[in-house]
């Protein structure tokens, strides 16, 4: 099958290309890019069975790579399966998903890893890479057979959202993984400092009487792991950074030449701990000195957080806002956006954590943390562009080139010969989040009912269309907007 994606705004960070033009796909690969000036050369490809996808008004970019998603299979199929999770990824524009270790069994043997790979090959909508467990059973006591996991094809090691509290074991893990040439993805949470946590520690947790997870509990472990990475020369990847202090530590480490990379989730970039207040936020005084001074270059001040994202739609203590690490403050958001902009943070990673209703419909402090985020990730991330905090090419780079670099791969690209992993999205399409219509089994999102701006229209993985919104790009479809 051949496709000609016409008239899209092509953004390919790997080639430093941002232009209007057409992309020709055939046999699962990008065959050719035509800029407007090359139109004449294009005519001869149009004959034999090329399907034309009209992408006018939309952005055409390499498919996104998600470094951090919980697909839950095998073991917790009531929360998500590889089929449903990768389908959600396709809806979100992701063509590669790194599957974080499952709960039980976990990715600590080659057998489980191969099962995940096999399920992904048979049932997956997009490519799945497997993150091996760092320790046996993710219990933090003994290293998993990392060599065997590497041979089985794991692309990194991590205990997922369980931090490794034993510093000596972390040192050994880093040294061992470095010898295998693979990164360790560390989730930084000092366990004792955050014991019993329900949300970010600060004014809001004090007002609500919820036990806090202080920023220092993340920063302390980031600092420890950076020191250990420098000691061992290993590649340390910081998962789901959420604090301003964490960003500063990573920036300083990189400046010293440490092999440290980092990711941030779309929700940590956009939502604050005030979302836990829900409706109570309506009567609560806003933070005294809003740290986020609207940037002068913001061309659309009306698209700032308050009008587009409204925490008061939620009831107080809504468990959909409980996520690990917790939603932080405006100051943290500001620092995370700055880190993403200046490259301190390499990638936007969803941290997709689907939960079933049972785990969420309960008291706040007892609810399982996690947000089902694959299907809203792009729109939340685009709010940085709409607010004028980031330009579109950089944002796309953090979803494509950045994660590829973390994995030590050549970046996803639209260069001729590249695997045809392509996303087409309309950055200006406004839509209302309806969690009931998520294709993920996890309907756990604080964004239900919110208006977002930016929507994936079509996703192609390996040259195959794995998601298409309402016949997008066909002659009978409505124009992108």
């Amino acid at each position: 099958m051949r496709y000609l994606i016409k008239n899209g705004s092509i953004i390919d960070p790997a080639q430093r290309v941002a232009t209007v033009g057409d992309v020709l796909v055939s046999d699962g690969k990008v065959e050719r890019l035509f800029e407007i000036a090359d139109r004449a050369a294009e005519q001869h490809v149009l004959d034999d069975g090329v399907e034309i996808i009209d992408a006018r008004g939309a952005v055409v970019a390499p498919g996104f790579t998600d470094l951090h998603a919980y697909l839950r299979q095998p073991g917790e199929e009531h929360k998500e399966t590889i089929a449903s999770g990768t389908r959600a990824a396709a809806h979100g524009g992701f063509t590669t998903v790194c599957a974080m270790p499952t709960e039980h069994p976990t990715h600590d043997t080659a057998a489980t890893v191969r099962l995940v790979q096999e399920l992904a090959r048979r049932e997956g909508y997009v490519h799945v890479d497997v993150v091996g467990a760092l320790t046996v059973g993710r219990e933090g006591r003994a290293l998993a057979d990392l060599g065997e996991l590497a041979e089985a094809g794991c692309i990194a090691f991590s205990d997922g959202d369980r931090a490794l509290s034993d510093a000596a074991l972390m040192r050994h893990a880093l040294a061992y993984a470095a010898a295998l040439g693979l990164p360790v993805m560390s989730f930084c949470q000092e366990a004792r400092l955050s014991a019993g946590w329900a949300m970010h520690e600060g004014a809001v947790s004090t007002r609500l009487g919820l036990p806090g997870f202080p920023a220092a509990a993340e920063e302390a472990l980031i600092a420890r792991d950076i020191a250990l990475a420098e000691l061992t020369g290993a590649h340390l990847h910081i998962c789901q950074v959420s604090t301003a202090g964490g960003v500063a530590l990573i920036r300083a480490a990189r400046a010293r030449g440490a092999r440290v990379t980092a990711e941030v989730s779309p929700h940590h970039l956009t939502l604050t701990d005030r979302w836990v207040l829900g409706a109570l936020a309506a009567h609560d005084p806003a933070p005294k000195a809003p740290a986020r001074q609207r940037r002068q270059r913001n061309p659309h001040p009306e698209l700032g957080l308050p009008s587009w994202l409204d925490p008061t739609r939620l009831p107080p203590y809504d468990s959909s806002t409980r996520v690990c690490p917790p939603l932080r403050t405006e100051e943290d958001i500001e620092a995370l956006a700055e880190g993403l902009r200046d490259g301190t943070i390499d990638a936007i990673a969803t941290g997709h954590s689907p939960q079933s209703r049972v785990e969420k419909e309960c008291e706040y402090g007892l609810a399982a943390p996690g947000i089902s985020s694959l299907e809203t990730a792009l729109a939340l991330a685009l709010s940085l562009v709409h607010r004028g905090e980031m330009d579109m090419v950089d944002l796309v780079a953090r979803l494509t080139e950045g994660p590829a670099q973390v994995l030590g791969r050549s970046p996803a690209t639209l260069r001729p010969g590249a695997r045809a992993d392509i996303v087409i999205f309309d950055p200006d399409a406004a839509w209302t989040v309806d969690a009931m219509r998520f294709v993920s089994r996890g309907q756990n999102t604080p964004l239900h009912g919110q208006r977002l701006k930016g929507q994936v229209m079509l996703t192609m993985a390996g040259g195959k269309i794995v998601f298409r919104r309402n016949g997008f790009g066909t002659p009978d479809a409505a124009p992108a907007h």
Binding site: A198, G202, A203, S205, T206, R207, L208, G209, L210, P211, G278, A279, L280, H283, D284, P285, P287, K288, P315, P316, Y317, V358, E361, C362, E363, Y364, G365, L366
Partner: protein, 314 residues
Amino acid sequence: MPTSSTERSRRRHVIDLDDFSATEIEEILTTTESMKEVLSREIKQVPALRGRTIVNMFYEDSTRTRISFELAARALSANIVNFSARGSSVEKGESLVDTVRTLQALGADVVVIRHSQSGAPYLVAQHFRGSVINAGDGRHAHPTQALLDLYTMRERLGQIRGVHVLILGDVVHSRVARSNLWGLTRMGARVTLCGPATLLGPPAYWTATWPEVTISYQLDEVLSSADVVMVLRLQKERQQAGLLPSLREYTRLYGLTPERLARLGERVLIMHPGPMNEGVEISPEAATAPNAVIEEQVTNGVAVRMALLYRLAG
């Protein structure tokens, strides 16, 4: 979720005092006075809530609060049923929401809930068509306690505006302190929080929500200007958790000792939400001093709860 609308329509839930105006608090205190009169009669019962069903849902042990609600409901002739987490469906793994739906189906009009998790009453309110009264949730709120404290202060001091209230002790874990902060600041009192730094947290955590409040780590510096000393219970687990060097040191720095009692004026009210750890946060001398109103607080608690039940279900 609004628990009341701003217009003078009737309040449906009492979850915290954050959504009470000074006027509404005044009205409740006035109703409390009438209820107190009922309780002073020979036959302490009026038929105001005859035929109404109230469920005491106690997920955490609290004999005094439970009995207080029970007596309040009976004095208004309501049916009251006790549901305690122990020996109930909770032990079989039933969720809070399922339990609430069951109580709904059984015809409850009012649910009184005590729970160890902050915010639990909001979850109940989302799934219950009747009224919800919070009888204490985690560290979050204990609005009926704060209202009975306000009533006791007003009864003894004549007014609340301008009164300096010192809330002393384990503030960070205290739902009583938080609800009192809302109530007292709304009624125009001056509030100082005092305790060890480990049981207070950074001052900015408090002043972000209650800008008028003063924070102090030095009891002897703030004690002399107080009109009311509200002593909070110190749970002995705090010491085991490493928050305190020793109970002895706590008493030395923050206890209402006989020496400190002697320095208080005779008109300074001593309050305690109970149960007390006598000899730790409060000395027996202070607990039984003529200016201690700890038993009055308990008595007034029944009247305040009658007033609330009457306003919600009457």
